[in-house]
Symmetry: C2
Subunit: 313 residues, 2 copies
């Protein structure tokens, strides 16, 4: 047995393309999704957001949500999470055997109203109810409180740090396992990242794991990841090939590319468990599964650097 | 008078596209180069590498090197530098009235031999002679010692920190004003950046200004800039639209995009003197001057973020 397989990652890299990336695309067959999952898990990625429990008539892409959970667990031991927006979705997810639940709310009131027809405060209350509901279950899932538009919002501009802190306080009181901040429309820069995560770390102490979901809309994705890592973030969302455009900025790239993120972390000596060559292979196969999509990311274009010692010529 | 125009930049952003970007392209008329220079200087960029003093039969693009210096100084008060590879080029540059000279050598012996037919140590000696030669002149130019392939080289792989330190020591002893490290083929990551600049800072103290020339070959450009800024680098090369491919990695992007770099620095609250909207305008005009070139960079694609306070709806 390779000892590397039992060394725990210092940072969890979390593939969100199966949910976030596919959300706006034509339905991909379940078997193709599972093939993607299997290849990327084989490369060492240790967490995946595999689906969303929303009504199938709204997002047909996720009509196979229960299958993705059940069959996904047969494919890999990696953490497989599902996104939910409300209590009803959470119950469906629990019924399907989800072991990791991401409840997403939005720091922007306008985005919250349009995306989930609720207020940020009401959404926090739902999370509190949800955590209380599952607290006694033997199979209590991991619960992530994800705060979308935590840095800014197309409707409202920059979101004040204090507003995010207030929502995070509510999520922490609810007892979530981790809190993830989403730069949903690509507003974040490393200065803002340091201030916001620094404030949360001081506020929450070490009891809550912090996660980051960055987009590369304005080229700041890797710098933001570096800043967040320095600020104590240990869970990073990304998607293979940067799949997942931002609906508010046509043509802009969306999620940071998983392979670029892993290259960054690898260069910094941060253990993620990922094998970069296998990850690039998975990306190559993903391009075959999604022939009509433009994938992003720099590492796959340039290839891994030659890191050999000076050649004897 | 706008007080901003007299506030000194905390960080010098230095446009290298007129030299580095144009080097591999068909000859651009001098007037077009000057138009680019004027627009970008108007946007607040305070330093430019405008040409290279190499024999015109080798690089016809720079046959107008003396004109770029003389006419460039009529266009802007910004720092205009010329790149030279040897003593002969340096003399031609001085004769043309250059006020800022960039002498480039390579940390890689193989790259040094192929690019400049010399050894790194011999090149340091030339810089020492050069600085001694101009020391007494009333119009002594600013002299930058630029170390190419400071992080890695396609021929030799990673370049040891100690080798760069030794060359930097020689340049500092020669009395250069600043030392710039070039990630010529896109090998650098923020960990390496921190180690190398940290070592140089400890070694050289505050007497030598440190500069960085990063490429975005593997998507690490902005993260590297952030790491270098933290390590005390105060001069950053970049090119508008990321112009300038890396000859060793076809299809890969070359220089980091000036507009993305300035967006990063602006977000961090670092004063550069650059007006981002004017800079994006200059980029738009550059695209018209170079209709056959693919420009890079994320900011121009997504646009500046809406940073207004929450709207009263």
């Amino acid at each position: 047995m390779n000892t590397d397989t039992v060394r725990l990652p210092e940072v969890i890299v979390r593939e969100v393309g199966l949910r976030d990336g596919l959300q706006g695309l034509p339905v991909l067959p379940t078997q193709s999704k599972l093939a993607w999952l299997g290849l990327e898990a084989e490369a060492g990625v240790s967490a995946f957001e595999v689906t969303s429990f929303v009504p199938a008539h709204i997002l047909p892409q996720f009509a196979d949500a229960p299958d993705m959970i059940a069959q996904g667990h047969a494919v890999t031991h990696a953490e497989l999470s599902a996104l939910v927006l409300n209590a009803k979705g959470a119950q469906r997810a629990l019924d399907a055997g989800v072991r990791s639940l991401v409840f997403v709310l939005s720091a922007s009131e306008t985005h919250s109203a349009r995306n989930a027809r609720t207020t940020p405060e009401a959404a926090v209350q739902v999370v509190q109810d949800l955590v209380a509901q599952v607290a006694g279950h033997p199979s209590r899932p991991r619960i992530t409180g994800a705060i979308a538009t935590a840095f800014g919002c197309t409707y409202e501009g920059r979101i004040p740090v204090e507003r995010v802190q207030k929502l995070a306080e509510g999520l922490a009181q609810a007892g979530v396992d981790d809190i993830s901040l989403g730069d949903t429309v690509g507003f974040a820069g490393p200065g803002h990242v340091r201030r916001l995560y620094g404030a949360l770390r001081r506020q929450l102490g070490d009891g809550v794991v912090l996660g980051a979901h960055f987009h590369d809309t304005r080229g700041m994705g890797m710098a933001n990841a570096l800043a967040a890592l320095d600020a104590g973030v240990t869970r990073f969302d990304a998607s293979l090939g940067g799949l997942g455009g931002c609906p508010f900025a046509p043509g802009a790239t969306g999620n940071i590319a998983m392979e670029d993120l892993c290259f960054l972390l690898d260069e910094l000596g941060v253990h993620t468990g990922v094998d970069l060559e296998k990850l690039l292979h998975a990306r190559h196969e993903l391009a075959r599964l999604l022939p009509d999509q433009t994938l992003h990311g720099a590492l796959s274009r340039a290839g891994l650097p030659r890191t050999l010692a000076p050649a004897s010529t």
